[in-house]
Amino acid sequence: MYLTIIFSILIFFSLWPYLSHLKILNFRDSPTLGERALSDRPARRTIGRQNEDVLKSITAILTAYTILFFTFYTVPELRYSTNDVVVMTLVTILSAVAFYIMTPANRIIHAYVRIGHIATIHFVTGISTFTSLSAILHGNYLEMNRMILIVVLIIGAMLVFSYKMELKK
């Protein structure tokens, strides 16, 4: 169980080198250096708070996925104590809440990245949340071959969207 949870945490934190390599998270340079126009959009004053916005968005996405998967994979257990209508209503309402949190997070992070980068963040966060919740709530542990396949899958996804956001000189 602990191995699966540690694995899911490591998967989630693999976003750190990915985003640092793409300069989406940049704690080295002064933020004011980035106050220039990106190649395909006008200059934004928001570049100065880039790290804060990106981390805020990732936290919101993680929270939304936790609510969503907790709903899908735990609420059905309630069917033994209540009826199906209540379960479906709960699932529908909690899904709506999850997407209510997720949509503004996508809008905030899109000021700094492209759709592909957001898709990769969603992919990694979704798999990480699922594996940890599945281990904690249902006792489903990952075998070693599946862990390796998930790592290859995530590396592939990161390589597909590995282009950088270019700044105009």
């Binding site: 998967f69 059905p76 709506a96 949509t103 809008r107 969603h122 599946r146 899958l153 390589l159």
Partner: protein
């Protein structure tokens, strides 16, 4: 392992993947639409997604004996493929060799996880 015979029953999961992609990414270039409006539309569409995905997942689990891990991975991989398709509309340059290697890795790992 997902059997090919389950493919007709996986169509609602594919529809759910379309819905997630639309909710998450389709509004990103509509900067003039207020975020509150987007949030409400996203919540309504998210409720629809929850209904479709939950019913199909439950049917696959209880009637056809599929594994939860496989259904979930199928959903996540479908969403990512939809995102690749969507990003093709906004991409202006040809893919480089690193991206093609990434696609091959992604496709191979997806095959071995699901098949």
């Amino acid at each position: 392992m997902l059997s090919l015979s389950l493919l007709p029953h996986l169509i609602p999961v594919i529809v759910s993947a379309f819905l997630i992609t639309a909710i998450n990414f389709a509004h990103l270039n509509f900067k003039l639409v207020p975020i509150k409006v987007i949030q409400r539309i996203g919540a309504i569409a998210g409720a629809g997604f929850g209904f479709i995905y939950f019913t199909s997942m439950y049917k696959l689990l209880s009637v056809y004996g599929a594994y939860l891990f496989d259904i979930h991975m199928f959903l996540m991989i479908s969403v990512f493929i939809c995102s690749i398709a969507l990003s093709l509309f906004t991409r202006r340059t040809a893919p480089n060799i690193i991206q093609i290697i990434g696609l091959i890795l992604f496709a191979g790992a997806s095959y071995f996880i699901l098949a």
